[in-house]
Symmetry: none
Amino acid sequence: MSAVLVIEDDDRIRLSLMLAMEDEGYTVRGAGTAEEGLRAHRAEPADTVLVDLMLPGMDGFEAIRQLRRDDDVPIVVVSARDDTHDIVAALEAGADDYVVKPVAVKELSARLRALRRRSRTTLAEPVPALRFGDLEIIPEAGEVRLAGDAVALTRTEFRLLCELADHPGRVLSRQQLLQRVWEYDTGDERIVDVHVGRLRHKIEHDPRTPRHVVTVRGLGYKLQR
Amino acid sequence: MSAVLVIEDDDRIRLSLMLAMEDEGYTVRGAGTAEEGLRAHRAEPADTVLVDLMLPGMDGFEAIRQLRRDDDVPIVVVSARDDTHDIVAALEAGADDYVVKPVAVKELSARLRALRRRSRTTLAEPVPALRFGDLEIIPEAGEVRLAGDAVALTRTEFRLLCELADHPGRVLSRQQLLQRVWEYDTGDERIVDVHVGRLRHKIEHDPRTPRHVVTVRGLGYKLQR
DNA sequence: ACGGGTTTGTCATCCGACTGTCATACCTGC
DNA sequence: GCAGGTATGACAGTCGGATGACAAACCCGT
């Protein structure tokens, strides 16, 4: 039904977590290292990830960042360390929640439900396929078609396009795009220009006179038609 | 920018929470009882709600349920009780997170950020298009249409038009326009004339006899339908 | 762990559009 | 007709956006 991935190096804890989650009705997979976990998730994406922070090799923070790079899956840190600094760092890295071991199974389960409730409402929204004239965007397939032909976009270009497509006809400022696509709170806004340029070269018939990704001088960019 | 509502009966704790949140850049409001909090939220919805569980009168659980009845606002419980049963009950009632007092401000702040990132509403808001006869202003698209055809305005022209449109039929002095459009406290009022002229050339059928942007001799300009 | 190809962010630079200023012409109410 | 207020056209400086080059970071299969 819905799959949980447990990344935890201590075999005993991992197994007990997995058992507990299984009892709650989840399909469960486990991984002993961050690398293994990432690979497993790439092979078959989970619906929720539980991750420890202290792992051999790549640590949990880095694992979270890598997961978050191109996935919106709910991530809950399950760590032995009850330390503000760790908690903040993990959440900043992209985790959604942080619980301290040992944790009551009932609590973990309730937190997962709360998180999944929250994620579903925002994630289930994206429309199956978006059309803008001859431009077709299939978000879940990560695919874009131009007059029926698939176009190869990079991750950043795709996210940029999706963000614009989520608000058709509406101007998004460079600042907004930076925050939503790059998750930067601050930074050089020019990178947006550069990527818009690259995107245009791929999806506009004539990049010099864009018909889809339109510049609104002084305000930002918008996607139209 | 974004508003936090703190519902907590202990004055000291409420104030310290509010101060902390203010430091983090939020606009903050407080309430001492659940009833008061619900009323405040109805009057002016917050973007995030912090709520205690033990409140005089209606308790926190019920407050959460009532909030959830018709609102998707992120809710974080800030409680003194570190009890699995309470945590589960609060999350089941509709809370998104549960932290135990005393909580590090940095942690609370990080949890709020994580939650807001997750709940970022991607719902396209209704289009508040303004109409003045055949003139149509779509602020969020940065677009102006004249009899259905898009008109290319510069940023200054657009802001000027929006400012006039925000007060239909009302005369705005050059001084007011300077302040609101140019954000000048002082300066040559003639700039306004020049830009009004340019604007007219773009949105008036006959710029010599303007029908929309009208001069009121000695006072300023106004926009009419 | 390694290495080649890809993607990404930064930068310098170019170009055109926009802006403010001014001089001048125009208009309106008295 | 006069005077104060308003409109307009020209102009040069400035600003914002586009682009190509480049190096670092990243990703992937080996």
